[in-house]
Point group: none
Chain length 217, copies 4
């Protein structure tokens, strides 16, 4: 293969990380070799190491980028509306969009937000990752508080536990919706989005004030 056209560094990094993300998602990190990534991306194995110090850094950067994206999605969702339920749904959709765009990151992020608290050794990227995770939490805390202030959300809710429960439930829901999309379609006659909406509403019901629950569907 001939030499590559001169392109800005960044293009190559993007090329590579894009492919890496794909392969990591499809086969798992451990089962994706640098060789695989190189071949699939059309570079030489050695070239990967020109753009990334090692596999670890490649992963770290992937996670970091994805966290940033996730943060942006949620921030945007909250800015688009003032109505609590609408904002909630927008957040959910943001999460779904994120999951669809960065399926691999999705899994990773869920496993990593804040977890670094327990770790003593931080790579530079990991530190940043942790910070963005905190920012996302702050965004959600604000959302919840505002919902409570305007009387839409139950005031007996504890903010932090609720946020974390949210995270767990929503991500679990999205995960299952993705993994079993076909099954859901065949057995329930629901599209992934329909199923998700059902679940999102279930979750919302759990936090709104008593009188506001609607009959679903």
């Amino acid at each position: 293969m001939g030499r590559r056209k001169k392109e800005p560094q960044n293009v190559h990094r993007k090329n590579i990380s894009k492919i890496a993300e794909q392969l990591f998602y499809e086969k798992g990190i451990e089962n994706t070799s640098m060789n695989d990534i190189a071949k699939e991306a059309g570079y030489s194995k050695a070239t990967l190491y020109v753009y990334f110090k090692n596999k670890e850094e490649l992963i770290g950067i992937l996670v970091l980028e994805s966290m940033q994206k996730l943060h942006d999605y949620i921030k945007l969702a909250l800015e688009e509306s003032n109505d609590t339920k609408e904002r909630y749904k927008k957040i959910c959709y943001g999460l779904v969009k994120y999951q669809e765009e960065y399926p691999f990151y999705f899994k990773l992020v869920l496993e990593n937000i804040n977890i670094d608290f327990e770790t003593t050794h931080f790579l530079p990227e990991e530190k940043e990752t942790f910070l963005i995770g905190e920012q996302i939490n702050d965004l959600l805390i604000d959302f919840l508080k505002q919902g409570m202030e305007c009387g839409e959300i139950r005031s007996d809710i504890e903010v932090l536990p609720a946020i974390f429960s949210f995270w767990g439930m929503l991500s679990g829901l999205i995960q299952i919706a993705t993994n079993k999309e076909l099954y859901v379609g065949q057995r329930m006659g629901k599209s992934k989005m329909e199923f998700l909406n059902y679940g999102f509403d279930m979750i919302y019901d759990s936090i709104i004030v008593n009188g506001k629950r609607e009959k679903h569907f």
Copy 2:
């Protein structure tokens, strides 16, 4: 080393899979080599291949066993009480117990229940795994239906979607409770179990009939 005492096949399989399970838990599947398992279990590496066709089969069987345990836990949970909320909580605790006992498979199972619909190639164990998954679903469907019949659970609920939502939410919750146990403790002053109870109650609230919600905590 001399030959091993003649013991029923099954004993050896159990010995091996027990150790494997342990190691998989401690170090992850990818980071546990057949060598590790053999050494720890006190067999020769080659002997592992007498009892298991390959690593994949070993894993498959482990997953299968764990699914069976999960099924048993849930079945037991449902038999222990007739009160809907109690049964619900018992199911949740069963899940937690399962997660603690088979932390490693927890994720695997979540990704595997039913998903095989989409797969063309089935190992024998995978087929069984799938069947047990179905049985678990059936158990939960019955639970939900009975809850609706006795007027505790909202009747406007669609059974199948609700079950799957449950799965997603509960597993997501448990996952996060486990991954962030330390964080939860430090920032919320809650133990893992306290946090989980909070979340379980949130979820339950979403399915019970309107008037029955209690103030939490």
Copy 3:
């Protein structure tokens, strides 16, 4: 290639280390890959790792073995005679023999005897290597002391510095005799052994009591 005949472990280790020694000597440690060794020895690369934990261990064991051999040669030399000069020459010949039999070790050993004093981290082999090095020193110290007692060797000599000077001179001499064998032959008309004897005598002259020097050659 078919499977290997069953031979005692030790045979394989010897096979491998023999070849390794050869290659290390010919091309240097750094320029000899495990692959080279494997190919030359007729084993698969992976097989090397059955018999040696890694390259480092292979080297370490090589050094250790060679030190042992050296020790034995010197011990033998000292036991063969009681005459100081004879013993001295026997030691020299022992060194030469050792150099010819283990040319690679020769270099290594010279660089390693005692040097580990300066190192903080010891591999098990390194410790042993060091100990054998000390034993060799002790042998030589005894020899020198006995020579002084019987009035053959100058009594104004400081034992330890003399031993170390010996080491340096003798090994340097042998090294050059080996490296420049051809040159020595062509330019001096001397065989390697003749040249060495010349040098050995020079060195001996420096330690004997004044009146005993002979005219050389």
Copy 4:
């Protein structure tokens, strides 16, 4: 980065070889990559290949340079005095100085002087290296002959063998003094230089005429 100022070729070669020399010393030739050299010297990796055909040539030139230095040291030593012992000691100190300045090449040179006789392939630099080696020999031959003429050095000595023995002994001595500096200090209470002087005197004793030996120390 902008282009480099136009400077005479030679400056760049010096810059590079200076750094290379340093790194080779610190980490060894094998463990010093062209990358390391380039970075440390502030050039691009590719630029190194503008000034040196390859790593081998870079090393060759370094060796050559060092040989030249050694030659100069010895020449200077001989010019500084007419007294045989003084000249001898000056030569020794010249060698020590050389070893300290070019520790890494010391070994290389010892292995390479004249050895190329046996080699069929000569790089241009290697040829020169060989010639300087010869010149050094000539210097020493003259020294020895003059010492014999003035009655200080034993006349029964064969010049060429003695020279080579010298080389071997002195270099061996210096090598050991360097490798075991710490050990020598701890066990003998001697500085490297004290130890070396001891050894140098021992060697000198072996070539002077019988009556002139002094009691040492």
